[in-house]
Amino acid sequence: MSSADQHRPLSHDALVERLVADAHPVRRLWPPGRRMGVWTAVAGGIAGTFAARNHLPTAGVRLSEPLFAAQIAMLVAAACWCAWLTFRASVPGREPRAPAIVTAILLVGSSVLLALGLAPETLADPRAFVQMGLTCSGVTLGLASIPWIAGLVALRRGAPVGPRLGAALAGAAALLVATAAMRTACPLGDARWHWMTWHLLPIAVGAVVSTALGPPFIRAWRQRHSPVRFNEA
C-alpha cells in the first residue's frame, strides 16, 4: 500500500466507483463575468425602461446636480458590486472575502450618507407619509422582483458554499438597482426622511429577508436538480 493509500479512508474506492458511475457530461457554469453581463442587461433593462417612462420632468436637468447624480451613481455602483459578488459567491473558492464585503457596505453606506445631504421635511401628516411611502416601496419591490429572482436562480445554478451571504447580496443588488431607478421617478425623492425610510431602509430589510428565504430556496432546487440521483426512502 502506498503512502497516499494509507491516508485515505477505507471506503475511498467504493465511493469513487459510485461517483465515476454517475460521470455524465455536465453543462459548465458560465463564468461570473458573463453571468453578470446577462443580469446587468435584465436589471438595467427593467430599471432603464421604468426610469425612461416614469422619470420626473426635471430629472434630465437634475442629472447635472452633483448630489442627485452622485446618489444615482452610488446606487448603481453598489448594485453592480453586490451583483458581481453574488455571481462570485456561486462558485466554490471564489466566494467574496471580507474586503469585498466591506467595500459593498461602504458603497451602500455612502448612499445613506448622501441622503443626509437632502433637506429634512416636516412630518405634519404621518398618514400621508406612510401612504406615499408604502406606494414607493411597493413599486421598488416590483421593479426589484425579477432581478432578485434572477440573482437567486444564478446562485442555485452554481454551488454556493455560503448561500446566506449570496442570497443577501442578490437581494441587495436587485433593490439597489430598483432604488436607483426610483430616484428619477419619486416625487418625494428630495425629502430626506421619505427617501431614507421608504427607499434606503427597504434595501437593508430586503437583504435580511433574502438571507432568510434564499438558502431554503437554493437548497430545495439543488436537491431536486442534483446530478447525483439516489433512491428516495
Binding site: P9, S11, V16, L19, A23, P25, P31, A159, F230, A233
Partner: protein
C-alpha cells in the same frame, strides 16, 4: 477536470484518486473525531461531484476543491456544536436496564423481522453493523438523508412494537 465535465470516467477516477490524500489531510486537520473526518471525506466527494459544473478550467483546481472541503468540515463542526448543546451527560449509569434482557431480545428480533426490508436494512447497517451514515447510504444505494429517515422510522416502529 475539463475532461471530467465532459463525462470522462477514467479522468474522473484519476482525479478523485489524486485529490483524495489532500482532502483527507484537510479534513483530518479540521475535525478532531476520525469518524467525522471519514464521513466528511465522503460528503466532500459528493459535494465535489454536485459542484463539478462550477469549476472553471482556466483557474487552479486547489482553491475550488479546498473551498468545498473546508465548507463540509465547517458544517460538521457546526453540527457537532449543536449536538453538544443538546446532549446531557449523566454522572452515573443506571444499574439495571429497564427491560429484562432475554425477553427484550426476542421481542426486538421479532419486531426487526416484521419491518419493511428497506427500513430493516437501514437500521442494521447503521445501528447494528455500526457503519457511518455515508457508508451505510452507499451500501444501501440511497442518499444519507433518506437512509436516516428509514432508520428513524424503523426505530420508531420497533419502539412501538416492543413496548409492553
Amino acid at each position: 477536470m475539463a475532461r471530467v465535465q465532459q463525462g470522462d470516467g477514467e479522468a474522473y477516477r484519476a482525479l478523485l484518486d489524486d485529490v483524495g490524500p489532500l482532502v483527507a489531510h484537510v479534513l483530518n486537520r479540521r475535525l478532531a473525531d476520525p469518524a467525522d473526518a471519514q464521513d466528511a471525506y465522503q460528503e466532500t466527494f459528493i459535494a465535489l461531484h454536485r459542484a463539478r459544473h462550477t469549476y472553471e478550467p482556466s483557474r487552479p483546481l486547489e482553491p475550488w476543491l479546498l473551498a468545498i472541503a473546508k465548507n463540509v468540515a465547517a458544517d460538521f463542526g457546526r453540527r457537532n456544536r449543536r449536538r453538544a448543546l443538546r446532549e446531557i451527560l449523566m454522572e452515573t449509569l443506571p444499574e439495571h436496564s429497564v427491560q429484562p434482557a432475554r425477553d427484550l431480545r426476542a421481542r426486538f428480533q421479532r419486531a426487526l423481522a416484521s419491518l419493511p426490508a428497506t427500513q430493516r436494512d437501514a437500521l442494521v447497517l447503521l445501528k447494528l453493523d455500526g457503519l457511518s451514515v455515508a457508508e451505510a447510504a452507499a451500501k444501501a444505494g440511497t442518499s444519507p438523508g433518506a437512509l436516516k429517515v428509514r432508520a428513524h422510522r424503523a426505530q420508531v416502529a420497533i419502539r412501538t412494537m416492543i413496548q409492553p
